[in-house]
């Protein structure tokens, strides 16, 4: 009985601690950005200029850059991530090759992002430049498209490993029943497995999105870091996480520092909203009777 009580108290305390931590983070972000909120007001969200010298701060170019790179990378990665998950969970089920494939995919998430960044800079950038030359665009090589491609590789393991796990959770009776009725593997995947695993797969995609949204190091190395509104997907741009990482350490002016913290506050709030929407969708998708 005694152990039970201690265990329960520990669990409650951990829960309260996490909630408290989030409230404290939010509080310190608010406190840190107070000066910026007071000085920039609503212009902070609509401003297109980021000028630390004359102390004009606008978030819009970074917001657009962040949304463009994360959505694009998600669109690129989903087909690959899902194919890998279906292939390894259904076609290579429990085989040695399947294990190797899973291991290699998961390994992608263990590579430090700075390595992705440098690899992108030296390997991807020349390829994109060749593409840009053939398209007749100013061949920078760096920009939104390069950053999105690097990001999409980085987030594949998040979508695919979760998708793989939920596909494995699909009750074998359902799958067997499908085959018994004469369905092909394709039919089983399309009509039974994917509908059943849909909410889990979506959760994985959401996790990937969060990762792409907040990724800093790899993006900053290949996006071109131009603090202006991007004109197209080949333009150099910048993201919210990357402007913070770039300018925070050397920001000596109070208004500059405070504005960077406000960028962090918005990053926090947007992530919060996206997660909230995602959770709602997951609940809607959840299979009846399951979970």
């Amino acid at each position: 009985m005694k152990e039970d009580k201690i265990f329960k108290t520990t669990l409650i305390m951990s829960g309260v601690f996490i909630a408290l931590l989030i409230i404290l983070i939010l509080y310190s972000l608010f406190k840190g950005s107070y000066l910026s909120i007071k000085q920039n007001g609503f212009n902070f969200l609509t401003g297109k200029e980021w000028d630390p010298v004359s102390e004009k701060f606008g978030l819009l170019p970074f917001l657009v850059g962040t949304l463009l790179t994360s959505v694009l990378s998600l669109l690129i990665s989903i087909p690959f991530a899902l194919s890998i998950a279906i292939f390894s969970a259904i076609y290579l089920k429990k085989s040695f090759t399947g294990k190797i494939l899973n291991y290699l995919t998961d390994l992608l998430s263990g590579i430090p992002s700075v390595i992705y960044g440098f690899w992108g800079l030296y390997f991807f950038v020349p390829i994109i430049r060749k593409l840009e030359i053939s398209l007749g665009i100013l061949p920078y090589g760096v920009g939104i498209i390069t950053a999105s491609l690097i990001l999409s590789i980085m987030i594949i393991p998040y979508t695919s490993s979760i998708a793989r796990e939920v596909i494995n959770l699909v009750p074998s009776e359902l799958i067997e029943a499908g085959y018994a009725m004469g369905a092909t593997t394709y039919d089983v995947i399309k009509k039974i497995i994917l509908p059943y695993a849909k909410s889990g797969i979506f959760a994985g995609i959401l996790l990937s999105f969060g990762r792409a949204f907040g990724e800093t190091m790899a993006v900053t190395m290949v996006i071109g870091n131009s603090n202006t509104l991007p004109k197209n997907i080949f333009s150099p741009a910048n993201t919210m996480a990357s402007i913070i990482a770039n300018e925070f350490t050397e920001a000596t002016k109070n208004s500059h520092l405070s504005s960077l913290i406000e960028v962090g506050l918005w990053l926090f709030l947007i992530t919060f909203v996206i997660n909230f929407i995602g959770q709602t969708i997951i609940k809607k998708f959840a299979p009846e009777g399951g979970k």
């Binding site: 630390p52 010298v53 004359s54 020349p126 920078y140 770039n246 300018e247 000596t252």
Partner: protein, 346 residues
Amino acid sequence: MKKLLLFLTITLITILLPINTFASVNLTGAGATFPYPLYSKMFSIYYKATGIKVNYQAIGSGGGIRQLLSKTVDFGASDAFVDDKGLKNFPHKVVHIPMCAGAVVLTYNISGNPFLKLTPELISSIFLGKIKKWNNPRIKELNPSVNLPDLKIVVVHRSDGSGTTFIFSDYLSKVSKEWKDKVGRGKALNWPVGLGAKGNPGVAGLIKQVPGAIGYVELIYALSNKMPFASIKNESGNFVKPSIESVKLAANTTLPDDMRVSLTNTNAINGYPISGFTWILVYKDLNKAGLSMAKSKELVKLLWWMIHTGQQYAESLHYAPLSPKAKAKAERIIKNIKFGNKTLLK
């Protein structure tokens, strides 16, 4: 349960132990990353010679200044001097002591890595986006022997706030009124054109990747990576190649007593025009800074050692040591650091 308690106690002891044993002899500092290789070399040699341990955290100039402001460190370090407005934030008087000088060089990616000559007007026009191609007549006129390609100029700058950007924009603000009005001087700028890259390695990497690119990096970085760089026309009209020697020469000029000065565009005849000091910042009255008498004495001794014995390590790490004139000024500043009304150095 008992095992867990034991484990926790041991962890706690291991965490707390070092603080208790060494706290009294440690000096702590935080700030600039640019001089970090030199400082860490100096501090490790100083530790071997005197047994005084200096704990330096290269968290960036901004962080160093903020930590000094809140008195959580004994000294701060910065690549840019604190301006008059910034000094007013400090509760007590703060002094700047120069430690070494660094330079900013212009490097580029043109096939064959030709040696280029540039004037201040050309540099500011390129970085303002007004000269768009390498075969521009104004560049050709200055470099008649170089086969300049019909290639777009891609400007590459630092994306992270940095002392290097500060020195470079300080120079451009001095030589071009348009730059001063449109962009100005700072560690992070609203760049009119170009791509940003993080750190010296990022800028160098991007320049190598983009044909026709031009950008600026620290002299140390360009030298150790054997990058091509331009010689620049200085205030006296001479084209000067960046080197440790020409940076030292740039600093050998009339300097203000508080040493809060940039070394850009100085009137030194053979000095390289884009260079600057890096400083250590301390409170002038260490008593008011909350240091003990013993610690204050050690701090002043360390600073004195750094501008004398410590200087010999600068050149091998590609930093320019202090010029005789700069050293003389630095000595006076250190001698004036006090503890209450007691002098700390004879």
